[in-house]
Amino acid sequence: MRTIGFFVFGWLLSMSCALAAIDPALLRPLASDGNDAKIAAITALADGAQREALPVLKSMLKGSLALAGERVVIVDGQRVIDAATNSEIIPAPQVTESIGINNRLRRELASTLAALRLFSGDREIRWEAAQELASGADAELLPLLEKALASEADAEIKGTLQMAHAQASLGSGDALVRLAAVRLLGASGDPNVLQLLGPLTEKRAGNWIEPDSAVRAAAGTSIRAIENRLAFAENVGRAFTGVSLASILLLAALGLAITYGVMGVINMAHGELLMVGAYSAWAMQSVFQAYFPNLVDWYLLAAIPAGFLTAALVGVLMERVVIRHLYGRPLETLLATWGISLFLIQVARTVFGAQNVEVANPVWMAGAIEVMPNLLLPWNRIIIIGFSIAVLAAMWAILNLSRMGMFVRAVTQNRPMAGCVGVPTGRIDSMAFALGAGIAGLGGVALSQIANVGPDMGQGYIVDSFMVVVLGGVGQLAGAVWAALGLGVLTKFLEGWTGAVVAKIAVLVIIIIFIQKRPQGLFALKGRFVES
């Protein structure tokens, strides 16, 4: 830390050679007594010297500014540097008094430094400085901001600066300046601005904090505008997380919908197929780390087929070894698949350990899009939504365009009849089960990016994905899609109002009531069916 500090300092020193000297009259007041005097001195220095003032103010912030007689100097270890000329004084004079700072001064220095960076030649530095100032600027900085505004060419930075300027002008003594500032702030979407404007409409000890009634009214309007914008962003955010949850539910439920639709089999081990998919993502990550370290960001692309195939393989095994022998006994199948799920959980614990394994987001999935200050859309969620849409499209294509899909639909609708016209129902069962399991594997790969990967991860999704299937109706993609969307968005909006647990309970109760009205789910299959 210290070494870096010295390097930076050295860099500042080398840069400073090109700079002009500062008028010592501007420097001397920095050592005056009292905060207010010091703040005035800082503002004056920044205003008068701009770029040259940077090293001095930075030293002050570090607490290494001192007084050697009447000269203001920077103490750097053994060396003593003249603050005015930024050159070392040899021999080093005796330091008589160090210039102390407190928290208030520290804040002041930080924002002044940010304001000074507004004059940097580098656009990125200016942009950062402008954003820093937009989240809190004092009236003392107004002259600097105005100067910066006048010289700024970049429209984006200029807009941010205007907000910063408006914030700073709220402390101005001129009612008209305040009015303009309040109106301008109304265009903000930043929750911090609300705290700034809030006091303007309040009374303290019977007196309005803001004396001017026009400013008060404008502040009220601005507050409402900002609140509306924030509420809108919040709702959009909720809808987004709802859709994101729906995409996960859909991936978990699609496979279940197929196996239940085709075979009338409730696969309690479905959650564990998700787990298998997630662990294959982890395995792929390990393989890439070991053998293709420079391609490690793309392990996820390899994990997609790996997850599908592994889960499909486990699914086929399950179907061949156990489920096949339990046809026509749905309740027994339910219990047997629960046994399989316990078995798979213990296998995962034995092989991979009981702890969660770490699956990292690739770089291209990290980060978020900032739509508004309080609305961030994370990339991994967006990609998963896209992924589930792609899986859905692929499923639709397989079911509706391929020969196998036609057979699957036929068996779903009427198994004996399909068998009579020559559909190999046994083989279709195996294939449908493999497909459903594979899709669960894909869901697991997606889950590995946003949830913990551990032996028990599948258990948390069983009830939810069953609810999607029950709500959506059997053997219908559209049903599953609408049910997942409805459940996801409803859950997230309820969570916003009532908290997560109550929301979950409410959703379950709503489903139970809904099933009363429509026992066949949202989308019942139409046609002739044998009902028991």
Binding site: G328, L342, Q346, I462, F466, V501, L508, I512, Q516, K517
Partner: protein, 402 residues
């Protein structure tokens, strides 16, 4: 249920529901649980090889409660064809309602020396919530144990059976119900101690809950409750009601066409089953000393089904045997080989559904039949009926599965 012209008194019909050999077994079991166990636990010194340890009493008492749940499950699943994955809820509700009484019995002996249960003091509550009213009275607690879970089961069952939800749909919905209840009970605001539930019980009816005498009494009560449950269940399934129930299981539509309304039959046996579970839960909590929301976990409820499946569905004694086999295995595995318990349980689920559709009792009967000694008509008839049942169920389910 139409009252049949009851010529023979109820008590006689109740007595007739067991044959002589079964009565003998029941008598032996009662003698063991009510006389031998107390003597061997209280009078024999610990060095004596016949002494029964506290561990034995607690473990067996616990399993006796599980056995009651298993019989209740067998009633609705084995005879009614309704697989509930939510029976853990009723068991836990019984435990919670009785636990409320036990919490109040702690009095001021808790860590905070307050009249309120410790967790309420911890949450900074000033008075008892309304549903705790009267929970300090033993009889009120017993009444609640009998009424609350039964009422919940009745309301839920009424709506579910009315809209003819059955098969796996019903199973899934009951699973969701217990899951929702578990989430609810995990919340501190619900007023049942949140995560930790109820524990640190001190007294029951003024007697110390850890005293050997109290344990023996609770053990005996559990044994009596199990006998009573078995007797009641046996009476029900051999009565006309039981036959209609079995008929509904095998061909609900036909029963409806004949003129019965399956709703009330299913609802009655469902509510009764929930009530039995609640009694078991209320006996379980003082013996184990804790009740928390994890009793409502989905896995627990499914495990109940496997007790019945292992023992043999549709054979009431099978449910008891299954509960003992699985739970003894569980306590042995979790002590000796904790990492293999899930393998064992998973295998048990698969094996019992694939190769032991009639469970241990079915296996025993098959072996007996294999020896060529068809002793009397009753055991021989049962497997035959079971096979026919399985066939009808399969036919019905095939239709439903499409």
């Amino acid at each position: 249920m139409r009252p049949s012209p009851a010529r023979t008194p109820f008590i006689v019909r109740l007595g007739r529901s067991f044959d002589a050999r079964s009565w003998l077994l029941v008598g032996l079991f009662a003698a063991f649980a009510l006389i031998a166990v107390p003597l061997m636990h209280l009078l024999l010194p610990p060095e004596n090889p016949l002494h029964l340890s506290t561990y034995f009493i607690t473990l067996t008492g616990k399993i006796l409660c599980y056995a009651i749940v298993a019989v209740a499950m067998d009633l609705i699943w084995g005879y009614g064809g309704i697989l509930s994955l939510g029976h853990g809820l009723f068991f836990a509700l019984g435990g919670y309602t009785f636990g409320m009484y036990l919490m109040r019995e702690i009095g001021r002996d808790g860590s905070y020396q307050s009249d309120l249960p410790d967790f309420m003091v911890f949450l900074d509550w000033k008075e008892l919530p309304w549903f705790w009213t009267g929970s300090d009275h033993f009889l009120w607690a017993v009444l609640l144990v009998l009424i609350v879970p039964a009422l919940i089961a009745f309301i839920f069952g009424y709506f579910a059976f009315r809209s003819r939800i059955k098969g796996v749909y019903f199973s899934i919905i009951t699973q969701a119900l217990t899951y929702a209840a578990m989430l609810l009970f995990f919340r501190n605001e619900t007023g049942f101690g949140g995560n930790n539930g109820f524990t640190d019980f001190k007294r029951i009816l003024g007697y110390s809950i850890t005293a050997p005498e109290t344990r023996v009494v609770l053990f005996g009560l559990s044994a009596l409750a199990l006998i009573g449950t078995l007797l009641l269940a046996r009476y029900l399934v051999t009565s006309k009601f039981g036959r209609i129930l079995t008929a509904i299981r095998d061909a609900e539509s036909r029963v409806m066409f004949i003129g019965y309304n399956p709703l009330w039959y299913k609802l009655f046996v469902w509510t009764l089953s929930a009530m039995l579970c609640a009694i078991a839960g209320a006996l379980y909590v003082p013996q184990v000393g804790i009740i928390n929301p994890s009793e409502m976990a989905v896995a627990n409820s499914i495990e109940i089904a496997i007790w019945v499946a292992v023992g043999g569905r549709g054979t009431l004694i099978g449910a008891v045997i299954g509960a003992f086999i699985v739970n003894l295995a569980k306590s042995w595995f979790t002590v000796s080989f904790p990492e293999y318990w899930l393998f064992f349980l998973g295998t048990l689920f698969i094996v019992s559904t694939l190769w032991l559709p009639q469970g241990v009792v079915g296996l025993y009967r098959r072996l007996q039949a294999g020896r060529g000694s068809a002793q009397d008509s009753e055991p021989a008839a049962a497997p035959g009926a079971a096979v026919a049942t399985a066939a009808t169920v399969a036919a019905v389910a095939k239709g439903a599965g499409v």
